[in-house]
Amino acid sequence: MSQTQQQIEANRRRYEELRAAGQELTPKGLPEPTALDGPPISPNAVIHQEQVPAGWYATMRLRRGEALRIVDDSGHSSVSLIGWRDEDTSERINCADTVKVQWSAAITKGRIILSDMGRVFLSLIEDTSGAHDLLVGGSTPASTLAAFGTTTRNTQENFLAAASKLGLDVRDISPCVTFFAPVSLDEAGRFRWQEGRKRPGDFVDLRAEMNLIIAVSNCPHPLDPARPAVSGPVTLIKHRAAMAAEDDPCRTASPEAARAFAFTDRLFA
């Protein structure tokens, strides 16, 4: 329906207010990155721990309130992640909404990863790295062939295998988030790999805000210039975390995050 001039002006005003909050106030209020020797996980909170070798993948169920620590043991790995809501796998991680809603393609401690249904999928409750990619995605048969002259194990095929073992298929594979992948853009919009942003022991803690299934792939990011690939194993530690309280920094980071948490809470009300 055609909009009146009054509606257009009111909507533009609201948009500018949200943009100013999202790109000026919110980033100033985000927590500092986690220290490399940051909070250890209490041994009795650990549910399961495993190491995933370079080139391989894992799937995992996380209940609401459980968290996954992903550790880049060698400082040379990147970990791509996709996931679905356990009770209804048509709801899944949505990278586009994640960057659009938070006004930023850079996710760091205090940010959230959204589902395609306007709910919080995962929260970044700890993050030593702050260098993660939501735009370029994981490696593929074609990208490894181009980079290494031979097709190696890659994220696209890992996700296919992982999805299949969960009763899902290629139609369920969405764009992925890749952790420990320092991708930035130059002024011309070209992607750049930021050397020096990766350290052995970098980790993220991802808290599940709904019951979910995830697939992670430990393959070098396609923009990682290391030739040949030097990536090592990563450690996954599934553990119990505190639920997001009313004053949780991820929940209070922005009005958008607060709404996404409120909509998520309704699933469990």
Binding site: S2, I8, R14, D116, G118, L135, V136, V170, P175
Partner: protein, 210 residues
């Protein structure tokens, strides 16, 4: 041939504001999308006509291209790494593929719950895809023609005023038979449509136009 001459067109359709559209483009055919009144975002998805589990992939497209925006010469890559189509003409110069489509659910998060019951691109996609046996599950990160979403080096990601003028167009030439699905974006809460959605025109020709 001038850009307004449609004597060689196989097909012409004006898509009303806020409405979806779809059609199979044969390999080699060119779809021209015309922003008839200017500043109108056009959300688009492509599926391999023979096997729709092969579909447009934003991340594969950006990885292969090495840069973040869709422009003249961009190859649109599938989730199986194949070129589905190419951008063969562009009088606008700025198109997005990272911002996804609007949905009732994301609108409620972004702009408040009062915007939940406004028509959205994902509603259009779901309805149009249903004609082809596809569902919400088949919706992936889409193309946003004429949508201006600069991403700055710090990561700031902003939908800003569109730069397309009335009559600007983009040509997409198919490299395989593709199901091309469009949502003429109904969003009124951000500048992608100048806060006021308008009609667009699509024209199909047998070869790249000029």
């Amino acid at each position: 041939m001038s850009h307004t001459d449609t004597s060689d067109a196989l097909y012409i359709c004006d898509i009303p504001a806020e409405r979806p559209w779809s059609r199979v483009l044969k390999c080699g055919q060119t779809l021209r999308i015309i922003d008839s009144e200017g500043q109108q975002a056009v959300d688009a998805l492509l599926y391999c006509a023979e096997d729709p589990s092969e579909r447009y992939s934003s991340q594969d497209t950006l990885r292969v291209q090495g840069s973040a925006y869709i422009e003249l010469g961009t190859r649109l890559i599938s989730n199986k790494g194949r070129a589905m189509a190419r951008i063969t003409a562009d009088t606008c110069g700025r198109h997005d593929t990272s911002a996804g489509c609007c949905s009732c659910e994301s609108n409620a998060v972004r702009f408040g719950e009062a915007t939940k019951f406004q028509h959205a691109c994902r509603e259009n996609f779901i309805l149009e895809l249903s004609k082809h046996g596809l569902t919400k599950r088949d919706i992936v990160s889409n193309l946003n023609f004429f949508m201006n979403v600069p991403i700055d080096p710090s990561g700031n990601f902003t939908v800003v005023d569109g730069i397309s003028a009335p009559g600007n167009y983009v040509d997409v030439t198919a490299d395989m038979d593709v199901l091309f699905v469009i949502s003429n974006c109904p969003q009124v809460n951000n500048p992608c449509n100048g806060f006021n959605p308008t009609p667009i025109r699509v024209v199909i020709r047998d070869a790249p136009g000029l």
